[in-house]
Symmetry: C2
Amino acid sequence: MQSRDHHISHRYDQELEALRDDVLNMGSKVEEQIDNAVRALTEGDEGVAEATIREDHAVNAMEVAADEKAVSLLARRTPAARDLRFVMTAIKTITDLERIGDEAEKIARMGQQLGGRQSLRRNQAISTMSEAVRNQTRQALDALAAMDADAALRIHQGDAKIDEMFEGIFRELLTYMMEDSRNISATIDILFVAKALERIGDHSKNITEYVIYMVHGQDVRHTDVNHLDLDEGEH
Amino acid sequence: MQSRDHHISHRYDQELEALRDDVLNMGSKVEEQIDNAVRALTEGDEGVAEATIREDHAVNAMEVAADEKAVSLLARRTPAARDLRFVMTAIKTITDLERIGDEAEKIARMGQQLGGRQSLRRNQAISTMSEAVRNQTRQALDALAAMDADAALRIHQGDAKIDEMFEGIFRELLTYMMEDSRNISATIDILFVAKALERIGDHSKNITEYVIYMVHGQDVRHTDVNHLDLDEGEH
């Protein structure tokens, strides 16, 4: 029986691993979508915009497939303790990744709408913010892959910078609109781009909270993470 | 043994019921938050605005408690088939309800920022849209409570009307900003209110998708629900 138990346990680990791979692959896909969406916007590349919009279906399909894997694991394997928390983390992360994909699609559509307004497209603050948001998403997924709660906490704290970037862009765009009312409509498109980037930041911040929960068994949503002593959590 | 099995099964049903109650109570709380937020905005009532912002903590606490109940149920009871789908539906619904709560809080904050701008506050289209969004949230939760996939499908199809309302408000506000650049800053606050309402609509639409999944075991996210034949699903 021992070897049979061992066999079952090995397959169980493989299934957890497969779910983890699904989540991380979906994450890579979504990062690529952010990159392409911002490129479609800043470079006015219609082909890239169309590809980004089209590829959101692939992101959605990855969500459904990973979700099914998680439910099947719950139904057949009855994971407990940390494994159960990992499956919960996967389920929640998948949802946030799918919504990041939606925001990327919106940015690509804004890129299509802007037409020949080069000065708006090449907004430096938007480029800087999109870089920051993309990095934060990457780092959140790295923390998930490494099950690194300390890294997750650092990333979580860093999200405030992204919110500040949004505020800065908002003020800049407001001035621009007030100077010339012909700018208003296109500038609001850029404002919605900044809003979409801010939301991507929020979603990647959510992922860091799940990672801390997974590692420490401590739900840090809605608590002031700056005062968390993670050493006190369950390991 | 039979009576013991029966006893266990009875307690299991009670736990599922308790999770369902948690989700529905959280839903009622969130509906109240939408109401109060919109009242804070349209009536410029500072007390209601503050209460709405303060009460978002209660919504967050409800999320954490319901989530723990769901995880505990998964760990100890190993629900299968439709029960497992119900627990998944609960977990996902809780997340959307919490985010609806966040949007309500944002609306209350916008209400605080607007100061004495009565003409903007009493925007008729915003009132109509908030009524529609509040109803859609109510109906989505009713469909969840009644496990009514047909109702869920009808509500899902109705969300397009809310998106149209947003577009209408967007065009109206754009005109208003173009007429007088002194209106721009406050008008953008109202635009963000409309955006928050649109998002609440999206979240309640998500809930209808979970209900259809729960009842039929068919994942309708990202499919064209207008062409769904629900009778073919598993019952």
